[in-house]
């Protein structure tokens, strides 16, 4: 299926103007009027859910909560006062139809991750690890020590960590996460200083700038991000500069979340500039608009529209991605997702013009 640019505009306009119902994982925070740290061990989101996050998922997201043998204490990822574990599994069936190149489909595991949280000193020092077990061999994604002095007002992370930049979306293939190069596949070694105030959340990270390849001469990365929160909306900005002998990169992002009735919205605009030592800099624009409509408890309909200008010096290379995803959580710790993503891209590059159907099973604990 191919959507015309005009139809794409209509969808984007409808998303922006009609305030219908749509969502992404950060949408849960927008919907609840909470910060990422409310539900995740990692103050900037992603990975292991904390006790509140597990409770919220069980009581607010799932259609119903199952109690086995009338156990009044269902699984909440907390082993005891100093140890917590968690995990995510995502896998399923997908079918891809590439223009003029045929279709293919397969069953695959997209992600199997295990989280470990050791609260060495309650409320002050936490050791945290995020290990990806599949696909492929085990890969360490995050491993850091987290200090949270002043009852969490300040946060200090040191180790391998996801960098603060834009919305921490679950889908690494969104244009904003893919093109910024800051996503769950690209943790970096460094330190992150954070500030958590009632209406503010801010981070400054200083890292190797190699996206997980260790330190390298001449490479450094600084990533700054701040978000202002109100109950029904939030707005944030990020700035990232990566110094590299092969050419620096500067990135800026504006992002926001708001809710209109039962719909939680997300939006992000990224501006990326790649410098080349010999000149010929390249500018990249990427954007995302997403709406999440929880039309019934346990059910969420997500509509998304993304636009990408991968190189401002090249014509007719813009790309779009449309997403329609239905998420169904019949009970706690489980979610089924079915969706369609339509890519409109460059005629000469068939793979940028494709339709993807998928059915995904997501289990977490």
């Amino acid at each position: 299926m191919r959507l015309t640019p005009g139809f794409g505009f209509l969808i984007a306009a409808a998303l922006l103007l009609a305030s219908a119902r749509v969502s992404a994982e950060p949408y849960l925070a927008v919907e609840a009027g909470l910060k990422c740290v409310s539900c995740h061990v990692n103050p900037t989101g992603g990975g292991k859910r904390n006790l509140f996050g597990m409770t919220y998922a069980r009581t607010q997201i799932a259609e119903r909560s199952i109690l086995v043998d009338d156990d009044p204490r269902p699984w909440n990822s907390e082993i005891n006062t100093w140890l917590g574990i968690g995990g995510d599994y995502r896998g399923g069936y997908s079918s891809v139809d590439v223009d003029s190149a045929g279709s293919s489909s397969d069953w695959a595991t997209g992600e199997a991750s295990l989280y470990l949280e050791i609260r060495a000193i309650q409320g002050l020092l936490t050791l945290y690890a995020d290990e990806q077990l599949a696909p492929g061999d085990e890969v360490n994604r995050e491993a850091y020590a987290l200090l949270t002095p002043a009852e969490g007002k300040y946060t200090i992370k040191a180790g391998q960590l996801y960098l603060p930049f834009g919305l921490r979306l679950q889908d690494d293939n969104t244009f904003v996460r893919q093109r910024s190069g800051i996503n769950f596949n690209t943790p970096d070694e460094g330190i992150e200083l954070g500030l958590e105030l009632p209406k503010w959340s801010a981070q400054a990270a200083f890292s190797d700038g190699t996206a997980g390849a260790g330190s390298a001469p001449g490479k450094d990365q600084t990533s700054l991000s701040a978000t202002y929160f109100e109950t029904d909306w939030r707005v944030g900005a990020s700035y990232n500069v990566s110094e590299d002998p092969l050419g620096d990169r500067t990135m800026q992002a504006l992002f926001a979340g708001w809710r209109t009735g039962p719909v939680a919205w997300l939006a992000e605009l990224d501006f990326i500039t790649d410098d080349a030592p010999g000149g010929g800099d390249n500018e990249i624009y990427a954007t995302l608009v997403e709406a999440n409509w929880r039309f019934r408890k346990g059910h969420n309909l997500k509509l998304g529209y993304e636009f990408l200008e991968p190189s401002d010096g090249i014509s007719e290379d813009e790309q779009e991605r449309y997403s329609v995803v239905w998420e169904y959580s019949p009970f706690q710790l489980f979610q089924a997702r079915a969706g369609l993503r339509v890519y409109n891209g460059v005629p000469l590059i068939p793979v940028t013009n494709r339709d993807e159907w998928f059915l995904e099973f997501h289990a977490f604990f």
Binding site: G8, G181, N185, F307, D312, E320, N344, L348
Partner: protein, 395 residues
């Protein structure tokens, strides 16, 4: 290519919102992948057709995953001869060795670490990966030149000049780079036998009709001539790989076979063209009744199992006539043993239950081993008889 006018930072927001409203409209002035042309096994072609349009979705700029930039300015230097970050024992591109190159493992999904590339997108067609393989196999050179040297044969199974006891199920030729599979077929990969005189070119040769001639996707340097259904005959066989003529074997870059074999591999005289020809001999009892008759029944068994001339009340040994192909088949296949009537002399498909096998292997319960005098049949001969029975004991 003209660069677009730069926007001030505040104007970028408006520009991007404008882009949302003008989706599909070109915003730049230069062409995309200018002059990319068809994918060829050269670095420039791979850059233009794969790295730039696909890999730089992520692998670009200072935040490129694992520091690997695959844009035109950096990809060669960061790939060729550079150790992989995920698996440092491998080079990202190991010139001359595509199987050991981490790039190939990531593209084919066999790396074992992380996801298959391109991440989040359909895998590359194997034909495209084969082009990358060939670029690496021929040295992973920079620039736009695909290798101009002719493709050569590096080994053959069965070995040239070898004598094999049984007709092999297939003939396998291995080349020094990936083949263009479309050029390897019944007209360019030939096997024939001499017709029994050990010589070729005298008109009595017998062409072997294969089940198939293939270039396996998993090993595109290999061509396989499948003759698993060919009736085995003791003879001299000739393998020909065509490098001269209208239809010749080629690599992915269109380089023709340099086929002449002068004693040792690789083939070739340094100039494209020339057929590769190599002979091997099948000598020994084959799993056919004709071969068994010629090599066993007639020269050995028929001395006693003479048939009607010395026929005495149907009794053994003369009563079991093994003097000719027809009588042997009639007296053996599906015929109950006189010594052990519970078994057939030859039970098609079941050598273990065939009385003939028990007699020649000396596991019989009645009578003596065959042949009763002289040496026992060698195991290769017995195996051929077993195979003939297992195959159905056909005439």
């Amino acid at each position: 290519m003209r660069q677009k006018e730069r926007l001030t930072t505040p104007a970028r927001v408006l520009a991007l919102l404008g882009a949302l409203a003008l989706t599909g409209c070109g915003s730049g002035d230069g062409p995309l992948i200018p002059g990319a042309g068809p994918l060829m096994p050269s670095f420039d072609s791979i850059q233009a057709n794969i790295f730039t349009p696909l890999c730089t979705n992520c692998h670009v700029g200072a935040t490129a995953p694992l520091g690997l930039r695959l844009d035109e300015a950096n990809s060669f230097a960061l790939l060729v001869g550079r150790a992989s970050v995920q698996q440092p024992a491998f080079q990202r591109v190991d010139p001359g060795d595509p199987d050991a190159s981490y790039l190939i493992r990531k593209l084919e999904g066999t790396a074992g670490t992380g996801g298959r590339m391109p991440l989040g997108a359909p895998p590359l067609p194997q034909a495209d990966i084969d082009m990358v393989r060939q670029w690496i196999a021929t040295g992973a050179l920079p620039g736009g030149a695909a290798p101009m040297t002719p493709i050569r044969v590096t080994s053959l199974d069965p070995l040239p000049g070898s004598v094999v006891p049984m007709l092999p199920m297939q003939v396998t030729a291995i080349f020094d780079r990936d083949l263009n599979a479309a050029t390897v077929d019944l007209t360019t990969f030939l096997v024939e036998r001499s017709g029994g005189d050990g010589t070729f070119g005298d008109g009595n040769e017998v062409a072997i009709n294969p089940v198939s001639v293939t270039v396996p996707m998993v090993n595109p340097r290999t061509a396989i001539f499948d003759m698993s259904t060919t009736t085995p005959v003791e003879d001299t066989y000739r393998v020909t790989l065509v490098g001269t003529g209208a239809a010749v074997i080629q690599d992915l870059g269109g380089n023709a076979l340099d086929g002449e074999l002068a004693g040792a591999f690789p083939s070739g005289d340094g100039t494209a063209g020339g057929n590769f020809m190599a002979d091997f001999e099948v000598a020994g009892v084959q799993p056919t009744l004709q071969s068994i008759q010629d090599n066993v029944f007639t020269p050995i068994c028929s001395a006693c199992h003479t048939g009607p001339t010395n026929y005495t009340l149907g009794a053994l040994p003369a009563g079991m006539d093994l003097t000719s192909l027809g009588t042997s088949f009639a007296e053996l296949v599906g015929v109950a043993s006189l010594q052990n009537p519970a078994l057939e002399r030859v039970d098609p498909g079941d050598p273990d239950a065939s009385w003939l096998i028990r007699k020649i292997e000396n596991t019989q319960t009645v009578g003596q081993r065959m042949p009763p005098v002289g040496a026992a049949l060698d195991q290769a001969t017995i195996d051929a008889i077993r195979q003939w029975i297992a195959d159905g004991a056909m005439m």
